[in-house]
Structure formats: structure tokens, C-alpha cells
Amino acid sequence: MDLRQETGGGLWEALRDAGAAALVTAGLSFPILALRTVENLDNKLELEQRWPLMFGAAMLVFFGRLAARVPGAGVAARWIVFVCAAFAAIYLVIDAWGMDADFPAPELVALAVALAAMVGLWLTAPFAATSALARKQQGARAFLGARSRHMEFAGVFALFAFPLLALWLLGPQGSLKWINNYGVQILIYVMLGWGLNIVVGLAGLLDLGYVAFYAVGAYTYALLSTVFGLSFWICLPLAGLFAAFWGVLLGIPVLRLRGDYLAIVTLGFGEIIRVVLINWTDLTNGYAGISSIPRITFFGIPFIDDDETGFAARFGLEFSPIHRTIFLFYLILCLALLTNAATLRLRRLPIGRAWEALREDEIACRSLGVDTVSTKLTAFALGAMFAGFAGAFFAVRQNFVSPESFTFGESATILAIVVLGGMGSQLGVAAAAVALIGGMEILRELDILKQVFGESFDPAQYRMLVFGLAMVVMMIWKPRGVVSSRAPSIYLRSRAAISGEHVGEGRG
């Protein structure tokens, strides 16, 4: 009874089906949403009853499903019905219970909306696919797939202009957040995504412990700079080399494993590294992490408020911490562009083609004399190296590292960036990093929601919730990612992209 295929049907069926969905929602909400465990004054657990929430959620799903299934309505009409019904349901419930009562607390209402939106998005996906929206998506795809020189040039120019523009528009204080949280952080993830893209997207090897190499890079810089006082410029290549070394070390024994076994072993390796970082306190300081990692300098000139030696003084500027952030931004931008150029070039070299061939068919590769083990190892090592670079940047940006930053969740996020971007596409991966990490940052500060739900509403709490949902929805919407087509690495006459349906996904 797949409803997505049965959107015909009469009104009666639509009603019946919406009723069933509402019942399921009620069932799902019954224990976990309707009854909340709270500690009383004796530190004992008690239950708090919140039945309106359950009814609200069920009603939302009911109307949502009805809107999606009601026969003969246009897409816009369905959305309008859905949104109106949703708000009607919320206010109905709130009103019935009395607004001045303790509950439903506004955040819980928001939660119900999130729940319903999940179902709603799922339901409307098939409509979206045939609507004007879809045409726009196609346009976007064509845009992302396009590789005209002008576009690239404009893109790079925009990236270089970004911090200056932010500075000009928002001033030193206002722009810090944009350049640091959005700019530098996203670029770190872009690097990570590009690194993992080599392993997963090109070579087709599923690596679930990628964060380990990120950690190796971060700790390499943290330790070398705090213990031996080495400068960032020496540590950066070392961080990459160290991470690559670990990649090879892990790769040698495990790369003959196939498919999901490789995935779990890499995952285990990531966990082992994290546990070691936590417990080897002599070296890593355990949970507390390593702090006061030296900050970035302008080729030796520190960004400090000093009349003699500081960057600002030397260049006749007024001191501002933003200088350092801007410098870091440009630095990582340059390195990212460099790694991008290297990757694009590698794709056109025999090694890069061998990676992709490996993803397509490992057995055929062997029959052509491709040494699959060393080919996999280079992919692994190179991917690890990118993570090592990113790790060094992470450490110098935070000037603090701790094991908490290198959990499995982080590996999952990076993998999501690669898959959402479209495996193998540099541009797609960058776009996914912007959307995912930028999106998370934006969710951090949706103060507008406070006006809707009241002051006690804390949007940050819902950040990861929405993030998780977004991952599900995006996958259903575009299982092969934003850029699903593949650009050929060499051509005779025409350089047309290859449709994603032919492109393999690897089994390693």
C-alpha cells in the first residue's frame, strides 16, 4: 500500500488513509511524547501528562496526509491546505488546553510541527518532482554541472571577495561570526568533504572512520606546536603527512576486506583513535584536551595588539582580531583551491582513472593489470592527507582540541556531505558542505522563531533534530546527491556529462 503511488483515489480513501496515518502518529507519540519523565523534588521520576501534544501531532499528520492525497488539487493548493491545517491544529490544541497552562510548552508545539513536517515532506515529494520546483532543480543541476570558465572565475572571485564584503557591510565586530563560523568552518568541511570524496566518491571505498585522520591532523598540530613550539607552516605539511601515514597503516591490512566489512573496520579504527585520545592523558590531556595552541601568524608576524611587533602595527592598521580570521580564511581558501586543483588533475591522470575504474568494477580492473591494492592505498592515503590538513586548520582556528570533536557523528556528517553532494563531484560536495554546515549554523540563530513561540523557545535545541530530518529528506529527494552526473576525464569529441544511472557506487 504505497501511498506515493496511489495518489488517485477518491475523497473517502483519502480520508481513511489520513485517519490511518493519524492513528499511527498517535501510537508513536503515545509513550514518548505524551508522557514526559520528570524528576520531582526527591529526585524520583514522575510522569507529566501532555496529551494535547499527541493529539496535535496526530491532527497535523491527518491534515497533512489529507492535503497530499485529496484528489484533484494542485501543488500550491495542497501546500496551502497543509500549512493552514497545521496551524489550525496547533492553535486548536493550544486553545483547548488553555494558553496559560504550563503546557503544551511552545517548544513542544514546534516539535510537533517538525514531526508533521517530516511526514508532510515525504508526502509532497512526488508532487514536487513534477512541479515547477523540479524544473528549478533541474536548472540548479545544470548550473552545478556547468563548468564554464566564467562561472568558475566568478565563483572564485566571490569567495575571495566574501570576507572583505562582510567586513565592509558589517564592520569588524559583525563580520567576525560570518567569516569565522560560516567562512572558515565551512571551508574546513569542504576540505574534509573533498578528501573523503576521493575515498568514497572516486574509489568507491566506504570509510566510516574518516574522522580519525582529521583527529590525527589536529593533534599533530596541537602537540607539535605546544610541545616543540613548531610553527604552523612546518606543522601543516607534517599534519598531512602524518595523517597519510596513518591512512596507509590502516589501509594495508584492511583494504582487502570488501563492502560493509571495510566500513565497520574503518569505523572501529575511528573509535579506537578517539578512545586512545581520551585515555592517553600523558600525551593528549584526555577529555580536557589541549588548549592554548598557538594561533596563526602572518608568516611569523603575530596578530596581536602590540605597537611594535603586531601585524596591525607593522602594516599601519588599527588592531582588530578580525585580521587574523580573515588571514586564516584566505589561507584555507588557497589550500582548498590547491587541493581542488590537484584532485581535478589527478582525476585526469592514470591513478585517478584507476580509482574510478575500481569503483565501477574491481574485477575488471584486475584483469587489466591494475594493482588494486596500491590503487586503493593511494586513495586512502590522499584522502587522509586532506583530513590531516583540515585537522591542522581546525586546531589553529579553535586553538583548542579535545576528543569530543572527533566522534562518529563527525564522520557521518562528512560522509553525508559527500553523498549529498553527489559522489565524485567536487562542486557538488562543496555545495553540500555549504548547505549542511551553513544550514546548521543558521539553525543556531533563528531568533525569529522566538517571536513565534515565545522567549523560552531555544532554537539551538532543535538544531540536530532538524539536521537529522534534513538528511533523511534530502536522501529521499535526491538519492544520488545534488550532482549525480559524472564528467568524463578525457574525451575525443564532446565532453557530455554521464548520467548518474550508469555510474557505479563501489562495493569496497
Binding site: 514518548i32 519523565t37 524528576e39 566506504l206 579506537i272 578512545v275 549529498l420 533534530l465
Partner: protein, 304 residues
């Protein structure tokens, strides 16, 4: 000797819980070839559902008999966790069936993030101390060492054994089990022969969740505290157990669960409790290098 026995008891108890969760991973993998990363969080959700049921029964309905309450809690947790997993499969995995291999994996990771944060938001981020249950202990002196066997442990191992027996009957002797095995072999063929594939897959998720709910209930009883983040670690270890035993193999999952539980307990008793989380993974990695399909997994021969 006494210490060894004590650790053996603790290890088997922990291993039972891992084994129950591992079955959910292995069944889903067997039938649709997908690693259900949200399974650990389904387990965590079930522990919360069990807690809520327990509080509701004792505080709202005044059930005083502990065994009765426990059985009702177990049933309630199984039913509602099963429903959750059914819905999750419908919403997050079914639309992706037969699609790109990594898509359901990412979807499952998204679901996992959603579930843990959902529970955090609706139930609060703090640890939930549960009322102490089955607190009696049996003490035996072995070689000058007091070996304690708690009622909890006896109950956990016996409930696990009982449910595994029932589960075994279900997959070996019923038409559902046959349909599952048919779908594992060849889904298209099974469909042509009249097996309702969608229903079979749904039921697989429901059964996996029910076993996870048993594990969740036992976990809540055993540790006396639940938290929204409790899904990740046991989930990963149970997944490790499933792979260790040979993913796709039900016996393998149980054996793998027991071994991982024992390894963890013995390692922390005899070597270092700080590094106890390293031991299962290290052993897994070493095992896979020498036995690339786990203990009982079918060797993956690629016909050329």
C-alpha cells in the same frame, strides 16, 4: 578463579544485551543489505518507552506486583518500539529501496541523529535514574572471592534465552520466517512466487525492534539509568558483534554479542577499564583480517 567466574557472569549478561541488539542489525542486513545505523537509537528509544511504561504502571495504575509490571513493560516496549521501527522503515528507508547503496545508509544516519535528539527534546537531556528493580543478590564464595549473582542478571540471561528460543521458532518454523529467507535469497523471485516482500521487510524491522526493545528494557533494569545518548555505544558494539559473528547470520549475531560482551568485561577486569572500548574493535579488526566474513558469515565469493 572467583574473579574469573564473576567476570564471566557479568560478561554473559552484557553479551546477552548486545546479542539481542545485534540480531536487529543482522536481520535487516540479511534481507535488504543495509546497515541500519538508527538501530542503536531505536534501542535507546525502547529503554525510554520501557521506563515510561514502568512509571505509568506503578504510579498511575498502581500495579504492585513486580513480575507482572515487568512483563507488561516488556510487552508495551516491544509493541511500541516495533511500531516506531515500522514507521521508520516506511518513511525513511522504503522510498530508497533499490536505489543507490549509500542513500539508505545516510538516511539511517539521519534517522539516528533525529531519534536521539527527538528523545532529548521530549524527555530532557538529563540522566533518568530508574527505580531499583530486582535488587536481590546471591553470594557464593569461590576461592576466597565473593561471587555475586544478582537476580537482575539471572533474569536478563533467562529472558534473553527465552525470547531467543521464541524468535528461533519464528524464523525457522513459521511462514514469516520462510518468507524472510526467500527474500534474503532473491527478492524478485520471492515476489514472483507470491511472497509479500514489503510486508516481510516491514515485519523484519518490527521483529528486530522488538528484540531491541527487550534489550532496552533489560538495559534499563540492569544499569538503572537511561539517557538519550545511550544508543550510540551499545549500538556500535552490537553492530560490531553482528559483523564479528558474520553479518547476515542469526546465530553469528548472538555468538558475536556474547563474545563482544565477554571481551569487554574481561578486558576491563584484567587489563584496563579505560581502554575497554578499544578491545572489541581491536578483536574485530584482527578477526576480519584473518576471517574476512566473520565467524559464521557466508564467505563472499564473487563469481567471475
Amino acid at each position: 578463579m572467583g574473579n574469573f567466574l564473576q567476570q564471566l557472569i557479568n560478561g554473559v549478561t552484557l553479551g546477552s544485551i548486545y546479542g539481542l541488539i545485534a540480531i536487529g542489525y543482522t536481520m535487516v542486513f540479511g534481507i535488504i543489505g543495509m546497515v541500519n545505523f538508527a538501530h542503536g537509537d531505536v534501542f535507546m528509544l525502547s529503554a525510554f518507552i520501557a521506563l515510561i511504561f514502568y512509571l505509568a504502571l506503578t504510579q498511575m495504575f498502581g500495579v504492585l506486583s513486580l513480575p507482572l509490571a515487568f512483563i507488561l513493560v516488556l510487552l508495551g516496549a516491544m509493541v511500541f518500539t516495533g511500531l516506531w521501527n515500522w514507521a521508520i522503515e516506511r518513511v525513511a528507508y522504503r522510498p530508497l529501496r533499490g536505489s543507490f547503496r549509500l542513500a539508505p545508509l545516510i538516511s539511517a544516519i539521519g534517522m539516528s541523529i533525529f531519534l536521539s535528539n527527538f528523545v532529548q527534546v521530549v524527555q530532557g537531556p538529563r540522566n533518568k535514574p530508574t527505580p531499583p528493580l530486582f535488587t536481590d543478590l546471591i553470594k557464593v564464595e569461590v576461592g576466597g572471592y565473593d561471587v555475586t549473582l544478582s537476580y537482575k542478571q539471572i533474569m536478563i540471561v533467562s529472558v534473553t534465552a527465552l525470547l531467543l528460543a521464541g524468535f528461533w521458532f519464528l524464523v525457522q518454523k513459521t511462514s514469516l520466517g520462510r518468507a524472510q529467507r526467500a527474500c534474503e535469497q532473491d527478492r524478485k523471485m520471492a515476489a514472483l512466487l507470491g511472497v509479500d516482500v514489503n510486508r516481510t521487510i516491514s515485519m523484519t524491522f518490527v521483529i528486530g525492534a522488538m528484540l531491541a526493545a527487550v534489550a532496552g528494557t533489560l538495559y534499563m533494569v540492569y544499569y538503572g539509568v537511561v539517557n538519550f545518548a545511550d544508543g550510540a555505544a551499545p549500538g556500535l558494539k552490537a553492530f560490531t558483534a553482528a559483523v564479528f559473528g558474520g553479518i547476515g547470520s542469526l546465530q553469528g549475531a548472538v555468538i558475536g554479542g556474547l563474545i563482544i560482551g565477554l571481551v569487554e568485561v574481561f578486558f576491563s577486569a584484567y587489563f584496563s577499564s579505560d581502554y575497554k572500548d578499544v578491545a572489541p574493535y581491536a578483536i574485530l579488526i584482527v578477526t576480519l583480517i584473518f576471517m574476512p566474513s566473520g565467524l559464521l558469515g557466508r564467505p563472499e565469493v564473487e563469481k567471475v
